[in-house]
């Protein structure tokens, strides 16, 4: 069974970077896949990778992560400024971040318009009669 845990923006909005990373890591280390509203700051993404590397061992081999973010380069300047102002007030809740444990998620393939999540096939063991 695959468990997806939704993390709404409101749950991480008031947390500092370290606590955000800790919270996400805890879910992933419980073998669940995180579906987080919004995205981490670039420095938080590298912080998450660092934390992941510190914790790699036989039972935890890292993470797969993918962020989908709305295209910004085609947006009109006024809309861009308005969106940046909104982000300042409300935080960056645009987009979605998927994080899964590497022992479950083999690969997350992303093209601009779609995400494909590949998991490891664990063939069911046959019961002996």
């Amino acid at each position: 069974m695959l468990t997806l845990q939704i993390v709404p923006y409101g749950e991480i909005h008031n947390l500092g970077s370290d606590d955000r990373i800790k919270k996400l890591m805890k879910i992933v280390k419980d073998d669940k896949i995180v579906l987080m509203q919004g995205r981490l700051e670039p420095e938080e993404e590298t912080g998450l990778i660092q934390k992941t590397m510190e914790e790699v061992k036989k039972s935890f081999r890292g993470i797969e992560i993918c962020t989908i973010y709305p295209e910004e380069h085609s947006v009109e300047i006024f809309d861009k400024l308005r969106s940046q102002f909104a982000k300042m007030l409300l935080g960056n809740r645009e987009g979605i971040t998927i994080i899964g444990p590497a022992n479950i998620v083999k690969e997350i393939r992303r093209d601009p318009n779609k995400i494909q999540l590949y998991t490891f096939n664990k063939s069911p063991r046959r019961k002996r009669k």
Partner: protein
């Protein structure tokens, strides 16, 4: 945009970043061979061959009457997962694979720590692979957040599967230089762009 940015600095630190096996050390070797006459590090088909940050000091690149001197910093590949079992497929023993995995995790941490010290970065992407990879996006995003100038190298253009247009589409706001560090293809354009970014 970056003109005069490094004027007055004694040693520009030029970092080479990218995911494992994108050809970072091959580019570092090509630069060192072209301008120092010696290689910088060993390369291998086994991922995470470079597990420590390597530095080559005072490399002077000259192109069309211009020159620039920098310290070249080759970093371990940044990855989000490291599984020792992946190394077994390359014929390593379990002991060697576990050792390599342990060193590789430390290498990733060190590479990230070094980001703040860089004056400029060459982001090396394997042009035969899908560029919409979170490691690529995280590296480029971090450089942008830190205001570090970046030159994106679409490496391995000698391979059939190479797709430069896909990299250009993924990073439209950056200059993408297609090269084959292994064959030395398009290095003139690379050095020209490098001097332009560093000057």
């Amino acid at each position: 945009m970056f003109s005069n940015l490094f004027k007055g600095k004694r040693h520009i630190k030029l970092g080479i970043y990218g995911p494992p096996n994108s050809g970072k050390t091959t580019i570092a070797n090509r630069i060192c061979k072209d301008w120092l006459g010696e290689e910088m590090g060993s390369v291998s088909a086994v991922p995470h061959e470079t597990r420590e940050v390597n530095i080559k000091e005072k490399i002077t690149v000259k192109h069309k009457g211009k020159d620039i001197t920098f310290n070249l910093i080759d970093t371990p590949g940044i990855a989000t997962r490291i599984d020792f079992e992946d190394f077994l497929k390359y014929g390593l023993s379990e002991k060697e694979a576990k050792k390599r995995a342990k060193e590789a995790t430390k290498g990733v941490i060190d590479a990230i720590k070094w980001l703040d010290d860089m004056d400029c970065v060459i982001a090396v992407l394997d042009s035969t692979l899908n560029p919409y990879n979170q490691v690529n996006i995280t590296i480029v995003g971090n450089l942008a957040a830190r205001d570090i100038p970046v030159l994106i190298c679409a490496n391995k253009i000698d391979k059939k599967k190479s797709n430069i247009k896909k990299i250009e589409a993924a990073f439209p706001q950056y200059e993408v230089i297609p090269i084959s560090a292994l064959k030395g293809t398009n290095m003139e354009e690379f050095y020209e762009s490098l001097i332009r970014v560093l000057k």
